[in-house]
Symmetry: C2
Subunit: 244 residues, 2 copies
């Protein structure tokens, strides 16, 4: 059973300010909940229509379909919803290859990029303060559990990059070196820019290596790659060069 | 001005059966409309709140914001909506490297894959009959105009693959050769499978080369890559090997 105050809390967590205030975020669906239960993240409470997650009974609330509908943001609620505690951000570890996002706005793109970081073994993801919140339910949904395996920190990206003297700072630009023929560094900070405007001018000033992903189609259309697919291509090529 | 029958027609085009019946599909937003106007696709009618597209006056309807709201499927309608004719499908040309989709269901994934085909110069895209319709408004939106530059054909994929004797048929599997260290063919049919179930058993039987995209993260989680990001990684590696 779910109380009125719980419904109020859960629906309020769509908004970032309420997630920050309560320190909680929502996960929906069996698969996602199981992935996060099997991680160091702390469960706050679990609402299930019957499915057993082996969660502590004191935190488990058996609810019916109608109650689930009241708390779910999905058109087709998926048998369970859980609240987890937002982990404390640690000081980011800037070593090896890391990814930094400069103003990513689309939750689906951020979720896909987190999943790619997990796949390619990127342990640290820096997000500029104007990047969409990674505990936004749409982001959490898109990460498929990998949000627990990548250390994500929101930072004043310009400041961090200006103070960085050790690591190469890498970004993609129309005029840059061909990623397939340039020797890519093994370590560094790979910047991905905003969906509409790319990398901001201030951040561009800190870039030490400009790369370009060549287009193979004949079309002269100026349309660029989506930022998440560009991330996939870049991380694949960085790892290939470093490992094979 | 937009008539009642036009509103009825336009809103009906959300559904595939009505697109098939009328032979029309919807494009929303200035950028998308301009891209498609500059292609061989035929304009049926254009509804604009003022923006000038240099379209034939006989096909242009000046409408107000309120009328646009009635015909738009977007939360924030984008100043114009156009109907274009669905082009006739030609017999697919199976040469060079082509992509074949085996039951892709998510419109965003199909749109991203079409955009990737355009970027990487893939001229032919085969879709199994159970793949989402490429004239679905969400797909069209996600392709950003590249739908006009890739020849997309819906086919009995199993039948085509069974009858194919010339081209290598390539798919990704858990047990496959590492894409970075295997010599990839220059020509062939690259199969991407359904989001939940991967490549179907019947199609798998026709595969002549099984590939694997290696994971670099330490996690033993079984979560796979999203099909659109897998497509990005594969096409990037095929083109790199063939060109550099």
């Amino acid at each position: 059973m779910v109380s009125k105050s719980q419904i109020k809390l859960i629906t309020s967590l769509e908004q970032k300010k309420n997630r920050t205030k309560s320190g909680l975020f929502i996960v929906e669906g069996k698969k996602g909940i199981r992935e996060i239960l099997n991680s160091p993240f702390e469960l706050d409470s679990l609402f299930t229509t019957g499915e057993n997650f082996n969660a502590p009974p004191s935190k488990t609330h058996l609810i019916n379909e109608e109650e689930l509908k009241k708390i779910s943001r999905l058109k087709t609620p998926q048998s369970a919803l859980a609240l987890f505690e937002i982990p404390k951000e640690n000081t980011p570890v800037i070593k090896n290859l890391i990814v930094a996002l400069d103003g990513i706005r689309d939750p689906g793109n951020l979720g896909t990029i987190i999943r790619l970081c997990d796949w390619f073994g990127i342990e640290t993801l820096l997000c500029s303060n104007d990047t969409v919140d990674c505990y936004n339910p749409k982001v959490v949904q898109a990460t498929m559990g990998s949000i627990t395996r990548v250390a994500i920190t929101y930072v004043d990206l310009e400041l961090i990059l200006k103070n960085n003297i050790e690591q190469p700072v890498i970004g993609t630009f129309l005029k840059g070196e061909n990623i397939y023929t340039t020797q890519l560094p093994k370590n560094g900070i790979l910047i991905l820019g905003n969906e509409a405007n790319g990398i901001s001018e201030e951040v561009e000033k800190t870039v030490s290596q400009k790369l370009n992903i060549p287009r193979f189609g004949k079309s002269q259309s100026t349309e660029s790659l989506n930022v998440a697919t560009a991330t996939a291509i870049l991380l694949s090529e960085f790892r290939r060069q470093a490992n094979y």
